[in-house]
């Protein structure tokens, strides 16, 4: 099981702050592609520029997923 979290504009577009997933692919990039393949808002939200994090560290699309991970998809940041 992994926990997936969506933040800010992504959360609003998807209408959910997150979900749990028992059956997940081997990398976060594949996970993003699978989520985008749900179509509709998912394809639009996850098809553009999205930052990815595992256990609160930014990662690239090849980063592997493992049991218990906290995965997050983040829009480009706008703080400061």
């Amino acid at each position: 099981m992994i926990r997936i979290r969506y933040f800010a504009r992504l959360r609003d577009q998807l209408g959910t702050a997150g979900e749990e997933m028992a059956d997940y692919p081997s990398t976060i990039g594949e996970l993003a592609a699978n989520l985008a393949a749900r179509g509709g808002d998912w394809g639009e939200a996850l098809g553009g520029t999205v930052l990815m994090a595992i256990n609160q560290e930014m990662v690239g699309p090849d980063a592997p997923l493992k049991e218990g991970d906290e995965v997050a998809f983040l829009p480009p940041v706008t703080g400061g």
């Binding site: 933040f7 930052l51 609160q56 940041v77 706008t78 400061g80």
Partner: protein, 159 residues
Amino acid sequence: MRRDIRVQTEPFDVGGETARLSAGDHSIGAVASFVGLVRAHNRVGDEHAEIATMTLEHYPGMTEKALDRIVDVAAERWSLQAVTVIHRVGELHLGEPIVLVLTASAHRQAAFESCQFIMDILKTEAPFWKKERLPDGSERWVDARESDGKAAARWLAGD
């Protein structure tokens, strides 16, 4: 190096934070500060729009880690005695302070440069998001700016 990193809803006192940063450490010869404020105008496409309020969201936990890592990199790059980073979240009004960065060093160049570095990297790597509310009550997420990416890339290009 001493560091004080905070994410909070409350306002901060620049004078008090500056005094606290350098208190008792007489090796410090320079303190640089940056204060970011909520601005009235933001560019939307080709039009300027006036905002009413702004709400800042963040990713609790990851935000503090990201700020800590940015300060780590600054401390490797410049000789610093102390750093303070305070970033506010929640609802903010026009003119209110959003972010404070203080850097303390023996000399001004390290203080100036590291202060700008921390802000430039924070703008592109720390997980904060701004949502603007316009006077008519409508809301929209602020888009990331290409110029912010360029400002951060300048430091990472190895000047």
